[in-house]
């Protein structure tokens, strides 16, 4: 099949992502990048309900069930004077059952997304602290692999529409610059948009405060 202009643009973006991550790997070294890769894969698996995500939701729901059961008189029924009380146990079970699970079907996506994002941030923070030395070339290669994984994780968000809208043959320089700026903006805004949709717009002021605190902390002396 003949590659189209969009395939070429997508390949260029992929190469750019690989290049940036390879450079980071080259600077940071192999072991940190390896750790980052493991956490990236775990984060991705957690974000998918058909992989680890469903299991994570079940664990959360079971923990919630056990806490409610204990607080709702289940523990008292088990250790009642004269042996466990079946009636009280059943009523404790029924009370918990009536409340239903903490995360219902279709509600877990936002939580899993936040978990994945948290793991990705943690991966970058932890990888930066690994000081064990190794070959810089190995770090470069591992960094490129991380770039590939990141591109794979975010591919549904990038491949939904053609990267650059089709431009007429007669488009002038201004039109081309405008299209590229618009596309760059779309790519930049997309993560904020997911975050806003997933957790609510209150995240924007929180992000502003976090950025300011981070910038203030980075002034030494």
């Amino acid at each position: 099949m003949t590659p189209t202009m969009n395939d070429l643009q997508r390949a260029l973006v992929l190469l750019l992502v690989l290049g940036v991550f390879a450079y980071i790997g080259y600077r940071r070294g192999f072991w940190g990048e390896l750790l980052k890769l493991v956490m990236l894969i775990v984060g991705y698996a957690i974000s998918r309900t058909d992989l680890l995500g469903g299991w994570v939701i079940r664990i959360i729901n079971v923990t919630y069930f056990l806490i409610r059961f204990t607080l709702g008189g289940g523990l008292g029924a088990l250790f009642a004077e004269g042996g466990p009380s079946a009636e009280r146990l059943v009523s404790a079970f029924e009370a918990v059952g009536a409340r239903g699970p903490l995360i219902r079907a279709g509600q877990g996506e936002a939580l899993l997304f936040v978990l994945m994002l948290g793991l990705l941030i943690l991966a970058f923070v932890v990888a930066g602290r690994v000081k064990r030395k190794a070959s810089k070339i190995a770090g470069l290669l591992m960094g490129a692999v991380n770039g590939l994984v990141i591109a794979y994780i975010f591919r549904p968000y990038l491949s939904g529409t053609p990267l650059f809208p089709p431009m007429p043959e007669t488009a002038g320089t201004f039109e081309i610059v405008r299209t590229i700026l618009g596309t760059a903006l779309d790519v930049l805004v997309t993560p904020v948009r997911w975050l806003g949709t997933a957790v609510g717009l209150w995240i924007v002021p929180v992000l502003i405060v976090l950025v300011v605190l981070f910038l203030l902390r980075s002034l030494r002396g």
């Binding site: 717009l201 502003i208 300011v212 203030l216 002034l219």
Partner: protein, 188 residues
């Protein structure tokens, strides 16, 4: 011209370039001035501007159209905001003390502060347009095409409007951030 979000993004890029040249300790001073401007505009102008404008129009015996009033308000708010922001760049700047990080770390911090300042300034100017029904879109060239940006808003712009700084941040937080910056500046 194109959609408003492209114009907005071009302004953000401009601020990023400025931050790359000036460095983040200087740019944090500008961030402080922007927080002050946002707090003043929201807290004082947002509450008292209409109450002050009405008697003034009566005294001057001017009765503008509704659209004319929107033009005036959007221009006034934008000019006041830009004048305050400009004061952060001109003359004695409000630089933060401390050793600036060099290399990749410094570059990333410069990018981050440029992005923050660009988002705050360009986002606030856009918000003033949005709050007064885009008066600047009335200006058209000789060929009838808009001079600054095209209307109606694109789907992306409709979503971006929801995350413009004054739309999502309560005015008291601007005051809180201003206090935080001043404390950090004094502590060093």
């Amino acid at each position: 011209m194109g959609p408003i979000e492209v114009l907005w993004f071009a302004v953000v890029l401009f601020f990023i370039f400025v931050a790359l040249v000036r460095g983040y300790p200087r740019e944090l001073g500008v961030t402080t001035v922007i927080f002050a401007a946002l707090f003043l505009i929201h807290f004082f102008l947002g509450r008292y501007f209409d109450a002050l404008l009405r008697p003034l129009l009566n005294v001057l015996d001017i009765s503008p159209t509704a659209r004319g009033l929107e033009h005036f308000k959007a221009t006034f708010y934008s000019v006041v905001f830009l004048l305050i922001v400009f004061s952060g760049y001109a003359g004695q700047t409000f630089t933060f003390q401390g050793k600036e990080r060099k290399g990749t770390d410094g570059l990333m911090l410069n990018l981050l502060v440029g992005l923050l300042n660009g988002y705050l300034v360009a986002g606030t100017l856009w918000y003033f347009q949005h709050a007064f029904n885009y008066p600047i879109a009335d200006f058209k060239g000789p060929d009838g095409r808009p001079l600054f940006f095209t209307m109606p808003l694109s789907p992306l712009a409709t979503q971006l409007v929801k995350i413009l700084p004054p739309a999502v941040v309560p005015d008291i937080l601007w005051g809180g951030l201003l206090m935080l910056m001043l404390l950090a500046r004094v502590r060093r």
